[in-house]
């Protein structure tokens, strides 16, 4: 499933769709500690986190993840969105907690 399809089916607001949302999602990954994400985040991952600062964009890009889903209605730094636009990174927003967000995504892509 592509990021764009996920955005449409989940109802999560797309704050930015990099590469027009055409990236394929290969799995779901949840973590807030960027140091750990750098180690464990995988290519094509749909990354669910509350870390809405600019460094999240760099981490998502460098680990080649498919998209960031900011959960818990987390505060989002404007610079994150700016960076996401520059680097073609998709960012979606969910008001649900991380677990429920990931569960919903799982239902959509694997259900």
């Amino acid at each position: 499933m592509t990021v764009k399809e996920l955005a449409e089916k989940s109802g999560f607001e797309a704050l930015n769709l990099g590469e027009e949302g055409t990236r394929d999602i290969t799995g779901i990954y949840c973590c807030d500690l960027l140091s750990v994400v750098m180690s464990k985040g995988f290519s094509g991952a749909c990354w669910v986190t509350i870390m809405g600062n600019i460094n999240a964009a760099a981490v998502a890009s460098l680990t080649d993840m498919a998209c960031i889903v900011l959960a818990e209605g987390a505060a989002i730094d404007d610079m994150l969105i700016k960076k996401a636009e520059q680097q073609d990174i998709s960012v979606l927003k969910s008001d649900m907690p991380i677990f429920e967000t990931a569960l919903k995504i799982n239902g959509i892509i694997n259900g």
Binding site: D32, L34, S35, V37, M38, A58, V59, S61, D64
Partner: protein, 140 residues
């Protein structure tokens, strides 16, 4: 066949710009048609090095050399040096400040990640003088 060389200066204070050098190298490797997994390894190893330079060493310089067989990253700083390399290599050991931790870093994974994602790594450090980390990622 000759090699390509690039030089980057890592800003000492601007945490928000950390990652620009790694992103640039990632873009160059992608344009060269490099294997995606090799690109990922280089990007992660280099970004961790960049972050370390910003956190611990007030910046530094990175030299990247791309040869037909390897990507060689040399990260040099004039920071405080690493007192105990063995400890620093342990996952979870960190000397980063609370401020750094609140940004999501400083969990003591930097050097272990650099080791994990490079094929060869060497740390040359002198207390009070600085640290040079050399990493090599092989082309597939």
């Amino acid at each position: 066949m000759s090699s390509l060389k690039f030089h980057y200066v890592v800003d000492k204070t601007d945490f928000t710009r950390a990652g620009e050098a790694s992103s640039d190298v990632k873009g160059k490797l992608r344009k060269m048609g490099c294997d995606p997994e090799v690109i990922r390894k280089v990007a992660i190893a280099m970004y961790e090095g960049e972050i370390n330079m910003v956190i611990h060493a007030k910046g530094g310089v990175i030299d990247v050399e791309i040869t037909p067989t390897d990507i060689i990253l040399v990260l040099k700083d004039n920071g405080p040096g690493i007192a105990d390399i063995e400890k620093a290599m342990q996952a979870g050991y960190s000397t980063a400040s609370e401020n750094i931790r609140s940004l999501g870093f400083g969990a003591g994974m930097g050097l272990p990640n650099m080791k994990k994602y490079s094929d060869e790594m060497n740390i040359d450090t002198v207390l009070g003088v600085g640290t040079t980390v050399t990493m090599v990622v092989h082309m597939k």
